[in-house]
């Protein structure tokens, strides 16, 4: 008599790495929430919750409406949530409307400023840079330190590195940080300012958000590893130039210019390649 034996896959031991990969889509929103919560609990970074609610509310509502009317489908709100949270942390104002307007502009830019079906600006980068460039009496950027709590900063750096590593964008962060440090040294030789003064911004919260969440943004980055490294080095160089002209929000302006240009060239190159293949 033949006995049928049901074969089952042997249970595999739990792997944290595999679990992270499987649930990666949740990591960036969790990471930004972590920055928000740690920052708020350790330092009280928000100065109130009206800006946070206005920014997140505006981004989510805009995303829900525009994805439906423009794309004809409903998109998950995690991306809008991240954009809203970034806006709330990177914009400073005593009023609520700048947060809402920045949130709206950020998400709307995704649906208006497109090339070959892709948005080319990181949404929060677009909204924030636009508002900062206006030099408005009601809006400023996050240009000050949150505090000197080493434990809180370490958590943000550690988790940030894990996130960009899992997103396969560690090379982007590392290339930018190295470029910044080298260029800071060159800048201090030119300006005569202390090297630590030139390095100081990198130790602040604005850069933590910039290097972990903005320059590594997959949808607005270019398609090749080499290309991404070149892009962030160029961003660092343009930022270096802006800094020589005393631009406080130099990194935003540099990425605002280089990022979409690189994305545009990359999409055009990919399109040409695709056409060649078809031919």
């Amino acid at each position: 008599m033949q006995k049928e034996i049901e074969l089952k896959a042997a249970p595999q031991p739990f792997s944290f790495s595999r679990w992270i990969d499987k649930n990666f889509k949740y990591l960036p929103p969790i990471f930004i929430t972590l920055i928000l919560v740690v920052g708020q609990l350790a330092y009280g970074i928000l100065d109130g919750y009206s800006g946070l609610f206005a920014a997140i509310g505006a981004t989510i509502i805009t995303e829900v409406i525009l994805s439906k009317v423009i794309l004809g489908k409903r998109k998950p709100i995690s991306s809008a949530y991240m954009t809203g949270t970034s806006v709330a942390m990177l914009i400073r104002s005593n009023l609520a409307w700048p947060f809402a307007v920045t949130g709206f502009l950020s998400i709307a830019s995704k649906y208006v400023l497109r090339y070959k079906g892709h948005h080319i600006w990181n949404p929060s980068l677009f909204g924030i840079t636009w508002m900062l460039a206006l030099h408005s009496p009601s809006v400023a950027g996050l240009s000050i330190q949150w505090g000197s709590n080493l434990a809180a900063a370490s958590i943000i750096w550690l988790v940030g590195l894990i996130v960009v590593s899992r997103a396969k964008r560690l090379h982007v962060t590392v290339a930018y940080v190295i470029s910044f440090i080298i260029l800071a040294y060159i800048r201090c030789l030119i300006t005569g300012d202390p090297f630590l003064a030139e390095l100081a911004p990198l130790t602040g919260p604005m850069y933590q958000l910039f290097i972990f969440l903005m320059i590594t943004d997959p949808p607005t980055g270019v398609s090749t590893r080499k290309g991404r490294v070149i892009v962030v080095v160029l961003v660092a160089i343009l930022e270096f130039v802006f800094r020589l002209f005393h631009s406080i929000y130099a990194p935003f302006y540099a990425l605002f210019i280089i990022g979409p240009l690189a994305k545009y060239l990359d999409l055009r190159r990919l399109d040409k390649q695709a056409k060649k293949k078809l031919a």
Partner: protein
């Protein structure tokens, strides 16, 4: 996809519309008018606002000029930033002749402080030298930062406390004829870097005590540094400033340091203090405006101890750059509020000033709500001192805010370098040698002071540049006083590294009434510091408090001035003395100064 094309067009138009709207919103004018000749400006202001402030330094014979403190050469790179304080003004009738006199501090080595005695004919005479309170910035003794007047020995003449980045001094007023230093053995610290001081009677024993707030740590001598690690450890969370001093008056010319046992243990960077009873138990609380951190409110437990309750009551939750604390009643409801100043620099740093309105009936634990945005007195610039006072006698307290940090080379700005460092880690920011060289650059300089006119209902109109000629000195301390006994509040502004501005106030044709109240304590301290005065008229109830100094490095006149608008009578004046006694005066005569002595 075709169906979605109209939607795409609409969204694109909406997107472009919002972009354009943000451009328009960001270009809103700040309310400054084009310049006009003073006579035209005055006429317009008198017609529109009912008052005009005219600088009269020359006519008044006031030729004082402030010079900034000298510093160790290790701080040369940021000297302009560090040596940015020291211009102060305090008003006192030191010789009891019925005319308000003015004291200015100077700060450079060898520079002289000035005591301008009011001659009663419109002019002032500097008598600091003959009175023994001029040469107080000798090398090695530190730089003067401010003064407050208080009759610590209850002899009827107000004595002078001078606080410095250095050795504080106490001068006894010898019958208005001269001042004698009684510092040695008095219990004042040998050296401290003080930027805030007030007289208060914290235990209501009838003797004036002293509070002083440290800015830089007390072991630092800014002219002889042993380390360059003197800067705040953070722009928002710094606790490495100077200590507090609560000095209890023992009644024998000596003061006991009771800071620790009374719980004033914080070491934030204090720039201003005001003492007032916020919870109705007669004991004065202490409100501290702190730079680089949250403000603090110390609740007075019946003169036995203090408890810091800033976060609990709302005023200590958001760290800003507190530089001023002054009291006013902006809505004529008998509820005072505290105005604190901070920094607002377009596109770079938006902190906004606060007006912490005391919530009525909030009981033992006072509660506050910030009304500065609603009242329209939030954004002034890089603000320092501020005072409330009814400038047009219309019955509502107006607000004068001194503005401007460093006016050095024109069309330059240190803001970029500043934000570079303040965004950095503790180890970078706290060491002065890491700060880029200022190279004579300005920072939030060449900006006008703010004058806000109370349009009733606690709504203010910005009349800066309209109610006085344009002045862009770096304003520090503001004091209000009736300098010429005319029944109007004049304004004196001490400007850093510059001449002060003596504003003579002209009231318009409109016949507004006023009343002034001066108090003398008997059971309470002789100066009646801490007494609350409420004036009732035409359904209004305005409260003012006798303070021993408030604002940034300043002290107003001792008497309290109440504008009344056009009225037939004042219903009553209620006086709550620190001793707990109360007085009610029915239908006092209008348009005169009333002096009340505690029964």
């Amino acid at each position: 996809m075709k169906k979605q094309k109209p939607a795409q067009i609409i969204v694109t138009i909406l997107f472009a519309g919002v972009l354009i709207a943000t451009i328009i919103a960001s270009r809103t004018r700040n309310g400054f008018l084009d310049r006009e000749p003073t006579s035209q400006l005055a006429q317009k202001s008198l017609t529109a606002y009912g008052f005009f402030l005219e600088p009269v330094n020359e006519q008044a014979g006031i030729h004082f000029r402030h010079t900034s403190p000298d510093l160790d050469s290790k701080l040369d790179n940021i000297k302009l930033q560090i040596a940015s304080m020291g211009a102060s003004v305090s008003i006192c009738d030191f010789d009891n002749d019925g005319w308000n006199d003015i004291y200015f501090t100077n700060s450079a080595n060898g520079s002289l402080n000035a005591l301008y005695r009011n001659l009663g004919d419109g002019r002032f005479e500097d008598v600091a030298g003959s009175m023994g309170v001029a040469d107080l910035n000798k090398k090695g003794t530190g730089a003067s930062m401010g003064t407050v007047w208080g009759d610590f020995d209850n002899d009827g003449f107000k004595d002078l406390l001078l606080y410095k980045w250095g050795k504080p001094e106490l001068f006894k007023n010898m019958g208005g004829k001269e001042f004698v230093s009684v510092t040695d053995g008095s219990g004042l610290p040998a050296w401290a870097n003080i930027n805030a001081a007030v007289w208060l009677d914290f235990n209501n024993d009838g003797l004036l005590d002293i509070y002083m707030g440290g800015y830089f740590r007390e072991e630092i001598d800014l002219e002889n540094l042993t380390t360059t690690k003197i800067m705040p450890e953070s722009f928002r969370y710094a606790n490495n400033g100077g200590r507090n001093y609560l000095l209890k008056n023992l009644g024998n010319g000596k003061f006991e340091d009771v800071t620790e046992p009374y719980g004033l243990k914080s070491t934030k960077w204090t720039l201003s203090a005001v003492a007032a009873d916020f919870n109705g138990d007669l004991y004065p609380e202490l409100f501290l405006a702190n730079d680089y951190n949250v403000d603090e409110l110390y609740l007075n437990h019946e003169g036995k101890s203090f408890e810091e309750i800033g976060a609990k009551v709302g005023i200590g939750r958001i760290p800003k750059s507190g530089m001023n604390a002054s009291i006013g009643d902006i809505s004529n409801d008998g509820n005072i509020g505290v105005y604190t100043t901070n920094i607002t620099e377009k596109g770079i740093l938006i902190q906004g000033n606060n007006y912490w309105q005391l919530k009525p009936g909030s009981g033992k634990l006072p509660a506050f709500v910030n009304l500065s945005q609603l009242s329209g007195i939030e954004n002034a610039g890089w603000s320092y001192g501020a005072q409330f006072g009814d400038l047009n006698n219309d019955g509502y307290m107006d607000l004068y805010v001194a503005n401007g940090f460093i006016s050095a080379k024109e069309n330059t700005s240190y803001w970029y370098e500043y934000t570079k460092v303040t965004g950095g880690n503790k180890n970078i920011i706290e060491d002065a040698k890491n700060w880029p060289d200022m190279e004579g650059k300005s920072q939030s300089g060449y900006i006008e002071d703010k004058i806000w006119l109370n349009d009733k209902d606690a709504l203010f109109e910005d009349v800066s540049g309209k109610a006085c000629p344009p002045v862009t000195f770096d304003g520090r301390a503001v004091a209000m006083a009736d300098l010429w006994n005319r029944g109007v509040l004049d304004v004196v502004v001490a400007n850093q590294n510059n001449i002060p501005t003596i504003y003579k106030n002209t009231i318009g044709d409109k016949k507004n009434d006023w009343i002034a109240v001066d108090l003398q304590g008997t059971e309470s301290n002789r100066d009646a510091i801490g007494a609350k005065v409420e004036v009732y008229w035409n359904g209004n109830r305005q409260m003012q408090i006798v303070t021993g100094g408030m604002g940034f490095s300043s002290q107003n006149q001792h008497r309290l001035h109440f504008g009344l608008g056009e009225t037939q009578q004042v219903d009553k004046i209620m006086i709550n003395w620190p001793s707990g006694k109360t007085d009610e005066i029915s239908k006092p005569a209008l348009n005169q100064l009333h002096t009340f002595i505690e029964n």
